[in-house]
């Protein structure tokens, strides 16, 4: 497959992974561009389409984790989401924004686990393989992050949110 086609086909996945982890459009684009440039250099090692997707997810996740673990370069939370790329209208934009804010408040690893689980719809086993973590760690991070977010949502929205959802 032509490299241009590869970029066009996977740019949304790569950019979204970086954006949901970093919560900064400019940083996400930098990481996504860097990932594609590295892919171009290492393209001889890619053996299949599945390998390509795995390689991109892995590269972007680890790069974002590196950035998030550096305190100086940790991106600030966007005060507003004006720099967000045009996204399709959601049924509940306020709830989506709230959830993304909660995700961005998680620890780097938990954030990566949540993004890979719910953006890419990956199984915990696949996430463990991508992030080089034990499966039990991924499962516990996932459960803990969900519990934490639910608790915060309930706290912010009041018990009605939880009650309505339950």
């Amino acid at each position: 497959m032509d490299f241009t086609e590869i970029v066009r086909e996977h740019q949304s996945m790569v950019f979204s992974l970086a954006y949901h982890m970093l919560r900064n459009s400019a940083s996400a684009e930098d990481v996504a561009q860097e990932a594609f440039l590295r892919l171009y250099q290492d393209r001889a090692q890619i053996v299949s389409d599945q390998h390509l997707v795995h390689w991109l997810r892995r590269t972007v996740s680890h790069r974002c984790l590196d950035i998030l673990r550096r305190p100086i370069n940790r991106p600030h939370l966007d005060v507003s989401e004006l720099d967000l790329p045009a996204e399709p209208m959601s049924a509940d934009p306020f709830a989506d924004r709230m959830l993304r804010r909660l995700v961005s408040a998680l620890s780097p690893t938990a954030r990566a686990v949540i993004v890979l689980r719910y953006q890419e719809d990956l199984e915990p086993r696949e996430i463990a393989e991508l992030l080089d973590l034990p499966l039990a760690t991924v499962k516990s991070r996932l459960q803990r992050a969900l519990a934490l977010m639910r608790a915060k949502l309930t706290q912010q929205e009041g018990p009605l949110y939880g009650a309505a959802r339950a």
């Binding site: 740019q11 949304s12 561009q33 790329p85 989506d96 993304r100 969900l146």
Partner: protein, 132 residues
Amino acid sequence: MVLLEPDLKRALRRQPAPAGFAERVLSRLPVAERQAPQPHLFRLRLVWSLAGALLLCVGFFANQSRIERRNETARQQLVETLTLAGRQIVRAEAKAFTGSAWARMKERVEQIETPASDNDEPMHSPAPRPRI
């Protein structure tokens, strides 16, 4: 907790990349290519390095072989020279020994053949056998 998952999936759905993203990536490709070593150039350099190293090894061993052959020739020549010299010495010794033996024999023969001055009968002539 499970009920939060659809909300998360919706909130974290894929976003479209910013406009012109692919073009910006592709415009950086030549720069990246210049910065990164080309695989075929790297292989070519490796092949040339290996060929150079091989040539050096061959030259070294050829030189060693030439020196060994020269040394062997010199050794053989020395051995031949020494052998020849030894033969000459042996021959000279034999000749000297033979000459002295011949001289001693000749001297003895001369002594035997020379008649004694204080005796009428020659010492070598047998005495006449008495007739019965």
